[in-house]
């Protein structure tokens, strides 16, 4: 019984070895099936990317964006972020009118949503795996925030807090970026730019010096020039 088993095993092994020899000889023939030879585990030749940006996370946003290239040169990125946390970096909103200057402070910005739209022109890189680009980046953010109204200490010793004030943030940047693939399907990117942003706050209470009291201001808009520096991680699809 054992001999039969051994013979059967030997037969199976010899069949495998014969098959291997055949394959080896066949592998020497020129082959037009080049996909298997090009398969080095890296995803290439794709035009879709899911991108996670670092800069919005500092502002308390969590989200992702999707980018697709159309042809070799043009691409567009569309993303959505949700504000779940307070900003990690210090924020200050400066309110000014003709009478006085007062400071108000973001206390707890939350319940927000952000959108990012970024058309790009790729100067280098046929696929989305790696490339160098220049583009525009529009950021639209809307959120509720608590404000601390700073009243001069000679008038009142306690601070006043105004809750759930509607705020919006719009910006438009001219950006330069570069990204490259690492690992099998990941990308790392660096982007910087400059542009203009607009802060808009609805019905913010401020302390008015003339009336010596807290008054509700009209909607305020505030423009300023600003810069952008962002790191991103992407997943190739």
């Amino acid at each position: 019984m054992t001999n039969k088993l051994l013979l059967a095993m030997l037969f199976v092994v010899s069949a495998f070895s014969l098959n291997a020899q055949k394959n080896k000889a066949k592998s020497d023939e020129p082959s037009s099936n080049i996909s298997s030879f090009l398969n080095d585990g890296r995803v290439t030749g794709v035009q879709n990317l899911i991108r996670l940006r670092l800069a919005p996370t500092f502002m308390g946003y969590i989200g992702a964006s999707y980018e697709r290239k159309f042809g070799e040169k043009f691409g567009i990125e569309v993303g959505a972020n949700f504000k779940t946390n307070q900003s990690a970096i210090w924020e200050e909103y400066r309110y000014a009118n003709s009478n006085t200057v007062n400071y108000t402070k973001y206390l707890a910005s939350k319940n927000g949503i952000g959108l990012i739209i970024s058309p790009k022109y790729y100067k280098y890189g046929k696929y989305i795996n790696h490339g160098r680009y220049v583009g525009l980046q529009a950021n639209l953010r809307s959120f509720k925030s608590d404000f601390e109204i700073i009243v001069p200490s000679s008038v009142q010793n306690t601070t006043t807090v105004q809750s759930n004030v509607s705020c919006s943030y719009k910006s438009l940047f001219l950006v330069w970026g570069n990204q490259r693939q690492f690992g099998s399907r990941f990308t790392f990117g660096l982007e910087f730019g400059f542009g203009v942003n607009q802060d808009k706050i609805k019905n913010l209470n401020v302390y008015d010096v003339n009336s010596s009291g807290i008054v509700n201001s009209a909607d305020s808009k505030h423009y300023q020039l600003t810069g952008l520096l962002d790191l991103s991680f992407g997943i190739l699809l």
Binding site: S27, D28, E29, P30, S31, S32, I34, S35, F37, L38, N39, D40, G41, R42, T44, G45, V46, Y124, K126, Y127, R132, N178, R180, L190
Partner: protein, 555 residues
């Protein structure tokens, strides 16, 4: 009337003067300004099909760090300039280095069958293999013809993900067959391979012989050739598919960790190297031949004589004093593997003295003659002093064998060049007293010397051309040679002409185009098209001028 006579005289004189160097005909096209994306970095080769010439160039392999800190690799695309018979650029085509979204690296492009064949290689990190691919292209519109084929594969180690090609590719004269060899001795080898070489174990290589329909004619994987540190230095094959591989086997008696063939610093006494040859027939039957045992060569090469089927192996015998002491020749029949007579021709003191006594030809002028006579007298005195001390029997710095040709009488004409390098360390100090140093290696390409070797393997006569070019970029040789109608022609990047094998120094004619652009910062290159035609390229940053340099064949 007098003026007319003078004009005729002047025309006659110029005509006579121009006939002095009428061996070379130069035809220059109009200046071409390629677009930025079409500006190549390396001109690779040129082919002629019908009345059109195709100059093949590569976009480049430059890698640079951009301001983001990322290294960006430029595409390795092929650029093809289509020229008409008058050397005017008719179109520029791009053959992209991409298969299925993967960037592959370009290797070579040339005529194979009746189409263009572009070769690409790809280092597969996962499979740890380097694959060689071939893609045929239509000559009319440079569109791919058929599918790309994998035609060769060889092992790479984990560290070797960015190595250059391991493959050597040759195509027969009738463009019907392609021989691919893979030899790992030119790259940094794995620990296992180094250990095997140190233990004098068998050296192996792989080969594939295919036809223009991508059908495999012959294949050999891990074929044994030589022992220890062996390097394949040349390969040739006839139209029937008989292959001949020439290798150099270095015994590991030297203490050097890595020996390089043609190492000019090598000591002759401690050298036990030899040339090895493997002849493989289409049936797979192979013959191993070993010769020149114990000899040391600065360089060696082989040439197939299609008339006799003999392969001539020519080697420059090293003297151990940085100079060649003679020529080694060996004829082997590629079909029968029959080894014909081995010959070793030493230059000897007299021939070396004759060559060293050659002086560049000078223009006669009464004023300078007296000075030159004085100089000549001084030289004579100095040479007398040298004679007392040492008379060399080797050609100093003559270390590079460039080409060899057969003539109609089956005699060999061997062309070589003096070559050496030197390094200069530059130190600069700024206003704050900080010093920075950088070292530059200069490659010096010197005099070109050729020898005619008769059927008995003896040196009959020699030709000599004074030449001196220094560059910071390495090339194997900075000239090309054509042998046709029993005449030898030498073409450098700036000049060309016949090299007379009359034991005297010959002069070359400066190209007209070189005169016009030499003052500006330009780049010149040349490529052989056929036995008697060469395309010369002069290029600046945004301008390219193609010239056809052809040898006037006598009927």
């Amino acid at each position: 009337m007098k003026n007319l006579l003078l004009l005729f005289c002047a025309l006659f004189i110029t005509n006579v003067f121009s006939q002095k160097n009428n061996a070379i005909k130069e035809l220059t096209g109009t200046e071409f300004r390629p677009e930025k994306k079409d500006r190549p970095y390396f001109y690779q080769n040129a082919i002629k099909i019908g009345e059109n010439y195709y100059v093949i160039a590569q976009k480049g392999d430059k890698a640079y760090i951009n301001f983001f800190g990322f290294s960006t690799k430029q595409k390795y695309d092929f650029k093809i300039f289509k020229l008409d018979a008058k050397m005017n650029v008719k179109s520029v085509a791009t053959i992209p280095s991409e298969f299925e979204g993967k960037d592959v690296q370009t290797l070579k492009i040339g005529r194979f069958g009746d189409k263009l064949c572009a070769l690409f290689y790809f280092n597969n990190k996962k499979a740890r293999k380097q694959f060689l691919f071939a893609q045929m292209y239509d000559l009319k519109n440079f569109t791919p013809s058929g599918k790309p084929y994998k035609i060769g594969e060889t092992m790479i180690t984990k560290k070797e993900t960015r190595i250059s090609s391991i493959f050597k590719v040759s195509i027969t004269d009738d463009f019907s067959k392609m021989l691919i060899t893979a030899d790992r001795s030119n790259i940094i080898r794995s620990r296992r391979e180094k250990k095997a070489a140190a233990e004098q174990k068998n050296h192996t290589f792989s080969y594939w012989l295919i036809d223009s329909e991508f059908k495999l004619i012959n294949v050999g994987k891990n074929v044994k050739m030589g022992k220890g540190t062996t390097e394949i230095i040349d390969q040739t094959f006839d139209n029937e598919g008989n292959m001949c591989i020439l290798g150099f086997e270095q015994a590991t008696t030297t203490k050097k960790s890595r020996y390089v063939f043609g190492d000019i610093d090598s000591d002759e006494d401690g050298n036990n190297s030899k040339l090895i040859m493997k002849i493989i027939r289409p049936s797979g039957e192979a013959s191993d031949i070993t010769f020149a045992n114990g000899e040391y060569f600065y360089s060696a090469m082989m040439k197939l004589n299609p008339n006799t089927g003999n392969v001539a192996v020519v080697g420059l015998l090293g003297s151990g004093k940085y100079g060649a002491k003679g020529l080694f020749t060996q004829q082997v029949n590629i079909k029968t593997a029959e080894v014909l007579a081995e010959n070793k021709s030493l230059f000897g003191i007299d021939l070396v003295k004759e060559i060293n006594s050659l002086k560049p030809p000078t223009v006669k002028s009464s004023k300078s003659n007296t000075k030159k006579e004085k100089r000549a007298n001084k030289d004579k005195k100095e040479s007398k002093k040298v004679k007392k001390t040492e008379v060399p029997d080797y050609l100093h710095m003559y270390v590079r064998l460039g080409s060899c040709h057969y003539n109609d009488s089956n005699e060999l004409v061997v062309v070589g060049q003096k070559y050496y390098t030197y390094t200069v360390t530059y130190t600069t100090t700024d206003s704050k007293g900080r010093t920075t140093t950088h070292t530059v290696t200069y490659y010096v390409y010197g005099d070109i010397i050729s020898f005619k070797i008769n059927q008995d393997g003896e040196i009959e006569n020699f030709g000599f051309i004074f030449h001196h070019v220094e560059t910071t970029a390495y090339v194997y040789k900075d000239y090309t040679s054509l042998y046709t109608g029993d005449k030898l022609y030498i073409l450098t990047k700036s000049s060309g002409g016949q090299m007379f094998l009359n034991n005297k120094a010959s002069t070359l004619q400066l190209f007209k185009e070189y005169n016009t652009i030499a003052r500006r910062n330009s780049y010149a290159d040349f490529m052989n098209v056929s036995d008697n035609e060469m395309i010369h390229i002069s290029s600046r940053k945004n301008k390219v001028i193609f010239s056809l340099i052809s040898v006037k064949l006598e009927k």
